[in-house]
C-alpha cells in the first residue's frame, strides 16, 4: 500500500511537468502581449521589463475588438437558446412517443453525426444566399441550430427516458396541456442536461471558424476568430507584438470563463461523453 502511494506521488509530480509543458504556449503568448515589438523580437522568452499596454490599446481599437466580442456573444447566445429550446422539446416528444415515425426521425437526425460539414458547406452557401441568410447573424444561428441540435436531441432523449411518466400523467389528469406540462415539469427536470448541452455547444460555436469564414463578409458582423484571423494575415503580418496580443484578446473571454467554470466545463465534457 505504501509503495502504491509513493508511486502516485511520483506520477503526480511527472504529470505536473506535463501540465507545465502544456501551459508553455499560453505563458509565452501572455508575457509577449506586454512587450514592445523590439523586445518581442529580441528577448522573446524573457519576462517583460515593464507593463507595456500599448499593444492591447492598439489591437482593441484597430480590430474593433468590442464589436467582435459583441458579435460572438450574440451569435453564441442566440444559437444556444435556440438549440436548447428546439432540441429539449423534440427530445421530450421523441422519447415519449413510440410511433414508426419516431424511429425514422431519430435516424434522419443521426445523419449529421456521420456526414461531415464539408459535404454540405458548398451548397449550403448557395441555399443561404437564395434565402438571403448569407452575411447575417440570424442565418448563422439557424445553421448552428440545424447542426448542433441533433446531438443535443440525443442527449435530451436519453435524459427524458430516465424521468418517470407518473408526474406528467398526474399533471395531465389535473388538466395541464402538453405545453404547460413541458415548461413547468419536464424542462426544469432536464436542467442538468441543459447545462451539459450549453457547455458542449458553446465551445463549438464560440470557436467555430469555417462557417463564419464562408458566410460572413462584412467587417461589422464578424465573430472573434474570424475578425482576429483577418487582421493577423493583413496588417499584423510580421508585427508579432500586435499579432500575439490579438491572439490573447481572442482567447481571453473563453480563458476567463474557463478559469471560473473549470469544474463545470470539464464535468460537461465528461457527461456528454458517457451519455453519448
Amino acid at each position: 500500500m505504501m509503495a502504491k502511494k509513493k508511486g502516485a506521488i511520483v506520477v503526480g509530480i511527472l504529470m505536473g511537468f506535463v501540465a507545465l509543458f502544456w501551459f508553455i504556449p499560453i505563458y509565452f503568448m501572455t508575457i509577449n502581449t506586454f512587450k514592445p515589438l523590439r523586445d518581442v523580437i529580441f528577448t522573446t522568452a524573457a519576462f517583460p521589463k515593464s507593463f507595456y499596454l500599448e499593444n492591447i490599446v492598439e489591437v482593441w481599437k484597430n480590430a474593433d475588438y468590442f464589436n467582435l466580442l459583441r458579435n460572438s456573444v450574440s451569435v453564441t447566445a442566440f444559437s444556444l437558446a435556440g438549440i436548447v429550446l428546439v432540441s429539449s422539446m423534440s427530445g421530450y416528444y421523441l422519447a415519449r412517443t413510440s410511433k414508426k415515425s419516431t424511429k425514422f426521425i431519430m435516424s434522419y437526425l443521426i445523419l449529421t453525426l456521420i456526414i461531415p460539414f464539408q459535404a454540405v458547406m458548398i451548397p449550403l452557401v448557395k441555399t443561404m444566399r437564395n434565402l438571403s441568410m448569407i452575411n447575417t447573424h440570424w442565418g448563422l444561428f439557424l445553421v448552428y441550430i440545424a447542426f448542433g441540435s441533433p446531438m443535443a436531441i440525443f442527449l435530451y432523449h436519453g435524459c427524458v427516458k430516465t424521468i418517470p411518466r407518473s408526474m406528467e400523467e398526474s399533471a395531465t389528469l389535473d388538466g395541464a396541456g402538453p405545453l404547460r406540462t413541458y415548461f413547468t415539469i419536464i424542462f426544469p427536470l432536464l436542467s442538468p442536461m441543459t447545462s451539459t448541452v450549453v457547455i458542449l455547444q458553446s465551445l463549438y460555436i464560440w470557436n467555430d471558424f469555417l462557417l463564419p469564414l464562408i458566410t460572413l463578409q462584412s467587417e461589422a458582423l464578424k465573430t472573434i476568430p474570424l475578425g482576429i484571423a483577418g487582421k493577423f494575415f493583413g496588417q499584423y503580418a510580421f508585427k508579432w507584438n500586435l499579432g500575439i496580443t490579438s491572439m490573447l484578446l481572442a482567447s481571453l473571454p473563453m480563458l476567463l470563463l474557463y478559469l471560473f467554470m473549470q469544474r463545470y466545463i470539464i464535468g460537461g465534457v465528461m457527461k456528454g461523453a458517457v451519455k453519448g
Binding site: V11, G12, M15, G16, V18, A19, L20, W22, I24, P25, I26, N32, V40, T44, M89, S90, R96, T97, I105, Y108, L109, L111, I114, I115, P116, F117, Q118, A119, M121, I122, P123, L124, K126, T127, M128, L142, V143, A146, S149, R165, E168, P178, L179, Y182, W206, N207, F209, L210, P225, A229, G243, M247, S251, L257, I265, I266, V269, M270, A273, V274
Partner: protein, 301 residues
C-alpha cells in the same frame, strides 16, 4: 373506468388527442435541419456531377468528369488526401495513447491532479485558428530562441518551412489542442468503472499492467470508441489549425484535403468540382468511421 383511464395514458397518449403537439415540438428542428442540412447534402451530390462555377450561373450535367479529373489531371488533390491520412494517423495514435496514459495517471490519488487536468484541457477552450497562430509564434520565435540559449539544436528546426518537418509540427499543435478533450473523456470512462471489479483484480494479484489491459480497458471500450471516433473524424476534417499555422505551405507541403477543397470552391470558385472532392472525402470519412466502429464494437462483446 380505471382501465379506460390507464389505457388512455399509455404510450402516445401522454399528449392526449392534441394533434398539434408533434408538429410544434419536432416540427421546427425538422424544417431547419431539412433546409440547411439534408437538402444541401443532396444538392451537393448533384452538383458534384456538374460544371457549376461561381462565375458562370449556367451549369450543366457532365457525368463523372469531375471525379475523373480528380484522379487523373489534378496534381494536388490526391497528394493532399495522402497528407491528410498521414497527419490524421500520427495524430490519432499520439493523441489517444498519450490521452489514455495521462488519464490513468490523473485518476490516481494526488492532490494536484485536478489542476493538471485543467491545465491540459485548457487549449481546448481556445479556438483552433488561434491555436495555429500561437504555435506559429512558438515555432517561429520562441523555440529557435530557446534553442540558441540552451544549445539544443533540435529546437531550432525550421519547423514550418521544412517540407519534411511541417507535418510533424502540425501534429504537435493538434495533439496540444485536442488531447485534453479526449483525456477528459477517458478519465470519465475510468471513473465509471465499477470499483469492485478493480478491487477483485487487485485481490487476485493483478499488477497494474494486467489490471489496465485485462480489466479497465475492456470495461471502458465504449468510451474509447467514442474518443477515437471523435479524434479520427476531427483529424480527417482538419482545417482551421493548418489555415492559420502554415496556410498549406511551404508550397503545398501541408495542404490537407479540406484546405484543397476550400480553395477549389471559394478561392478558385469551381463549386461543382469542389463538391466532387467533398463528396469523395465524405465517403472516405464515413467508410473509415464505420470500419472503426465495427472494429471496436466487436471487441466490446
Amino acid at each position: 373506468m380505471a382501465s379506460l383511464r390507464k389505457k388512455s395514458l399509455s404510450n402516445d397518449s401522454i399528449f392526449g388527442n392534441c394533434w398539434w403537439v408533434g408538429p410544434l415540438f419536432v416540427g421546427p428542428i425538422l424544417i431547419v435541419y431539412s433546409i440547411l442540412f439534408a437538402f444541401p447534402f443532396l444538392q451537393g451530390l448533384y452538383y458534384s456531377f456538374t460544371n457549376w462555377t461561381a462565375i458562370n450561373p449556367n451549369y450543366s450535367f457532365i457525368g463523372w468528369q469531375n471525379y475523373k479529373e480528380m484522379f487523373t489531371l489534378d496534381e494536388y488533390f490526391l497528394p493532399s488526401l495522402n497528407r491528410t491520412f498521414f497527419i490524421a494517423f500520427i495524430n490519432v495514435i499520439f493523441t489517444n495513447v498519450l490521452a489514455m496514459l495521462f488519464a490513468v495517471a490523473l485518476t490516481n490519488q494526488f492532490r494536484w491532479n485536478n489542476t493538471w487536468r485543467a491545465l491540459i484541457f485548457m487549449p481546448n477552450v481556445i479556438s483552433m485558428v488561434v491555436s495555429g497562430f500561437i504555435w506559429k509564434f512558438m515555432f517561429g520565435e520562441i523555440l529557435p530562441k530557446l534553442g540558441e540559449t540552451t544549445n539544443i539544436s533540435f529546437l531550432s528546426n525550421s519547423w514550418l518551412s521544412d517540407p519534411g518537418i511541417v507535418a510533424y509540427s502540425i501534429v504537435i499543435v493538434s495533439v496540444w489542442w485536442g488531447l485534453g478533450y479526449i483525456m477528459t473523456i477517458y478519465i470519465a470512462g475510468l471513473q465509471g468503472i465499477d470499483s469492485e471489479i478493480i478491487e477483485a483484480a487487485d485481490i487476485d494479484g493483478c499488477n497494474s499492467w494486467q489490471s489496465f489491459f485485462k480489466v479497465k480497458l475492456p470495461s471502458m471500450l465504449p468510451v474509447v470508441t467514442v474518443g477515437i471516433f471523435l479524434n479520427i473524424s476531427g483529424s480527417l476534417k482538419m482545417f482551421d489549425t493548418i489555415y492559420s499555422l502554415t496556410g498549406g505551405g511551404p508550397g503545398k507541403a501541408s495542404e490537407v484535403a479540406m484546405l484543397n477543397i476550400y480553395r477549389e470552391a471559394f478561392v478558385f470558385n469551381r463549386m461543382g468540382y469542389g463538391n466532387a472532392k467533398a463528396v469523395f472525402l465524405t465517403v472516405i470519412i464515413v467508410l473509415i468511421t464505420i470500419v472503426q466502429m465495427k472494429l471496436t464494437s466487436t471487441k466490446e462483446r
